[in-house]
Amino acid sequence: MSEQLALRSARVVVTRHWWVIRGANPWTPLVEGLFEPFLYLMSIGVGIGTLIGHEGRVIAGGYSYASFVAPALLATSAMNTAANQTIWGTWYRLQFEKFYDSLVTTPLTTTDIGVGEAWAATARGGLAGICFLGVIAALGMVHSLWAVAAIPAVVLIAFSFASAGLAVATIMRELHHNQYVQLVMLPMFLFSATFYPLSVYPTVVRDVVAVLPLYQSTVLARGLTLGRVGSDQVIAVAYLAVMGSGALWFACRRLGGLLAL
């Protein structure tokens, strides 16, 4: 009963975000989520892929090099869209607009608010990922029916990064702290086996990269679009689920401390 009530309450927060998008231009967020990964796919996946030719095919296990890069960009698209929603959107409403002060006086609890924010960001990140999945499928970069499972997979990726972003939003105090966020996000994008396999690194670096959430997301997405599913993908699912729920739990606790002072 109380869980039902909590979910219903959290859903209203999602409705609120939907109204905001509806009131502006519903297509804008999708274009945002598609545009950047598409450019990377064209320049590196197709461009560099043509340059390296046969080597690229070896990396991709017989498929085009672009097919190897595409699922990594799929994971990145879901990650960026979801995390930006919470790191910037929620943070701005929390720190500057004092928006949630008017929500905590309604029957909503701070946990409802946290869950609702994560939910809305997951929806946007997931949607961006699903659209990008459609784009790479249309370009012939998907090589297995397992790719159907990539739909819930990108939603899971979006969820874990939406929650992590929410946790960051409850910690970040000043605007200039965005440098630290960039300092994590950009290297993670560049080095999480996005453009080449983990085997190029020395062992020590491999272990470090292997625990990065974007690496795990990439392993999951790549396994599904290339049709190579094994224990690595199961581990990735468990990793992302634990990270997402842990971060969400932490974020809700922090929200309680910040809003119900």
């Binding site: 219903r8 309450s9 209203v12 409705t15 609120r16 109204w19 905001v20 009131g23 607009e97 004092k98 928006f99 002060d101 008017s102 929500l103 905590v104 006086t105 309604t106 029957p107 909503l108 609890t109 809003l259 119900a260 002072l261």
Partner: protein, 350 residues
């Protein structure tokens, strides 16, 4: 009707001679049923944890008691930092109490927060409207936060747009509204769940006189509809206009309690004589007035003497006889402001 109740009705009826408006309702309530407390706070304490290792915990509210009854307008008066907003936040079940208890609508604020909040309306100091939505959407979504169906929320939103005189602005973004409109929308929004109690934290702070008067009319309208209002303010005219009963807070404690009239009678003289001098003038006239014992209380301010007295004109004549020649003199009735200043002092509090 039992004897006790009968007696209290008689007393209330007598009290009516002093203040008609409050008592008509009080008698009505007393006739219907024994007056039950809507909100009861006992030994309420709020201590904020230190922000960092260097600072100390801060006691914002330091053990206060109060009781609110259905249909009354109750005010918290006090300078900035007196603990009014902290008290309001505890009343709205947002901020957990550090000590003491609050019972609201028969429920415990510590455990039934969600259920209590569903029956309260809250107007925050800084409106906290949803700037990304339109005026109408602000009302609709608030209804959904309270678990209303879209149809009900929509119907009430239309009613409240009319109440807040915002029908023409319904489709506008909130960011395009003036301060007065934002506040009216904020009040309209707080009424969506048809609250039993409406809490308003400094409802007219920062508004121009026109907007203030419109807002007072709206609040008066609600009062007449029988909504219980709780407000904080540091505007005395507001408290005098709206409040049936009020408490004066200072440094986290309640220092006085009563109706505006009662407080003026208890803590201020009937009239006040203000004498103005050039700021550079010496304080000599003050000593003369004190020696001649012309007033109950004399305050010496830069360029100004404030005498509390029963008859301002007579005190002024007395001052003239002493050879005091002020630049100007004003005789006025004592106001709540005098009560407030005498209880909380004239220096800046924070």
């Amino acid at each position: 009707m039992d004897d006790g109740l009968f007696c209290s009705c008689v007393i209330l009826r007598l009290y009516c001679l002093i203040s008609r408006d409050i008592c008509n309702r009080a008698v009505l309530v007393a006739n219907l049923a024994p007056v039950t407390a809507l909100v009861e706070a006992r030994g309420l304490v709020k201590v904020y944890a230190p922000k960092d290792r260097k600072s100390e915990p801060f006691t914002a509210v330091d053990g206060i008691d109060f009781t609110l009854h259905r249909g009354e307008v109750f005010g918290f008066l006090g300078p900035n930092g007196a603990g009014k907003s902290s008290t309001m936040r505890m009343l709205s079940c947002v901020s957990p109490v550090t000590g003491g208890t609050i019972s609201i609508l028969g429920m415990d604020a510590a455990t039934d927060g969600r259920a209590i909040r569903s029956r309260l309306g809250v107007v925050a100091q800084d409106d906290a409207l949803d700037n990304e939505l339109t005026v109408r959407e602000n009302l609709l979504i608030y209804g959904l936060y309270f678990g209303l169906s879209k149809a009900v929320a929509s119907e009430r939103a239309s009613e409240l747009l009319q109440f807040a005189q915002l029908e023409e602005r319904a489709a506008d973004r909130v960011s395009a509204l003036s301060g007065g409109m934002r506040r009216r929308l904020s009040i309209a929004r707080s009424l969506l769940n048809r609250p039993d109690v409406l809490l308003l934290d400094e409802p007219t702070t920062g508004l121009d006189p026109q907007a203030r008067h419109i807002l007072w009319d709206k609040l008066y309208q609600l009062k007449q509809q029988g909504v219980t209002l709780v407000l904080t303010t540091h505007y005395m005219d507001e408290a005098e206009q709206l409040c049936d009963r009020l408490v004066v807070m200072h440094k986290g404690k309640i220092v006085a309690e009563g109706s505006p009239r009662q407080l003026i009678e208890a803590y201020a003289s009937r009239e006040v004589l203000e004498l103005r001098f050039a700021v550079t003038a010496e304080a000599a006239p003050a000593d003369k007035i004190r020696e001649a014992d012309l007033c109950h209380r004399l305050e010496v301010l830069p360029g100004r003497l404030v005498c509390s007295t029963d008859d301002g004109e007579r005190t002024l004549a007395g001052a003239h006889r002493l050879g005091i020649r002020p630049d100007s003199a004003i005789v006025r009735r004592s106001s709540l402001e005098d009560v407030f200043l005498s209880l909380t002092g004239r220096s800046l509090v924070d």
